[in-house]
Homo-oligomer: 209 residues x 2
């Protein structure tokens, strides 16, 4: 049995949801509020919710800023963000603040139920388009931040490339074999997403390295 709370100001969305969750026998429907303020007024709560469905575009305290507040009072509660827009920035702000799911309001009711269950079981339910963005985010994080960072050796080689030196010359300068230089250059190309020395030089001069 999973207890669920809802904070949603739009009646047309709130009511059907309330109706639907009420009749589910594996879900214990808890409180429903129209604003964060109202929700917090009901504290302390008799039944601590396992899951909170939180609208992101609330009047007064926004759902986004509510996350931290609520997480502090209900650390065990999984928060699923509920929104009409899939604004990239808000998604990550929400996830960083501690939300564990992110659903679009056009999600079918039974999908929402599944999401609630998934969240309660430490899952991370999110609409496909949201999920894609999250993936991309980590993709970038992995490729721009971690994997695009050049090692000292690679930087050194980039400098020689910018100087217009050939593999042979660079190898001589660094007392390495040509193959070593080629090996590093290959990795540099992968990290910078290029495939020629000229592109490396251009990137270097644009300060993109």
């Amino acid at each position: 049995m999973i207890s669920v709370d809802i904070i949603e100001d739009v009646a047309d969305i709130r009511n059907p949801l309330k109706e639907f969750l009420s009749i589910q026998n594996d879900i214990l429907f808890g409180s429903i509020s129209e604003s964060v303020e109202e929700y917090l007024n009901n504290f302390p709560k008799e039944i601590l919710p396992d899951v909170l469905i939180l609208d992101i575009g609330l009047p007064g305290i926004s759902g986004l800023s509510a996350i931290e507040i609520i997480k502090e009072k209900l650390p065990e509660t999984e928060i699923i963000m509920f929104t009409v827009h899939d604004e990239p920035g808000k998604i990550f702000d929400a996830l960083k603040s501690g939300a564990s799911g992110y659903l679009l309001k056009n999600t079918p009711l039974d999908e929402i139920k599944r999401a609630v269950i998934e969240a309660a079981n430490n899952g991370a339910p999110m609409s496909p388009s949201i999920a894609r963005q999250v993936i991309q985010y980590f993709d970038k994080r992995k490729t721009v931040k971690e994997s695009e960072i050049l090692t000292p050796k690679e930087r050194q080689i980039v400098n020689y490339i910018v100087d217009g030196q050939s593999y042979k010359m660079i190898a001589a300068n660094l007392n390495n074999s040509i193959e070593t230089i080629k090996y590093h250059t290959k990795n540099i190309y992968k990290k910078l997403h290029v495939n020629s020395k000229t592109e490396v030089v251009a990137k270097a001069f644009r300060g993109e390295i």
Copy 2:
């Protein structure tokens, strides 16, 4: 026998020079004037000077602007500019106007005599520091201006190279054969004194093209 005229306003320089030249038996000392205006008033002249020593910093009509005027009236006369400063700009203005020599006023008298003779024989007497500048000038002219100027086509190709494009791609973009692109690239390399695309890119980004 070489006839020499002088236009020099500073007495301390004019007089020793006059004295010295007067006693030379291979030099026919002509007129001496303190200004261009005064010099021109003596026209028409009975003896046309082979050489005119012309101060550059004269009051009234400057020596610099006098060159063209005098050259028109005395096209056969070699003009030696006489100056205390070796201002780069003036040197070239003078040479462009038709001066054939350029001496600093600290030049020893016997050197001046040699310069007069040299000028009369279609030489180009000039003080060492002046000469150096002239050499540099032509050096730049030859390498930076005339021979390093890229044709429109070449510039176009440079842009593609900077974009990291291969010969094949450039050829496709410009509707030329690869060979044409290679031909132009060869010429670009010669003009820029480089021998690889990476060097071209580097130069381009440094604004050296």
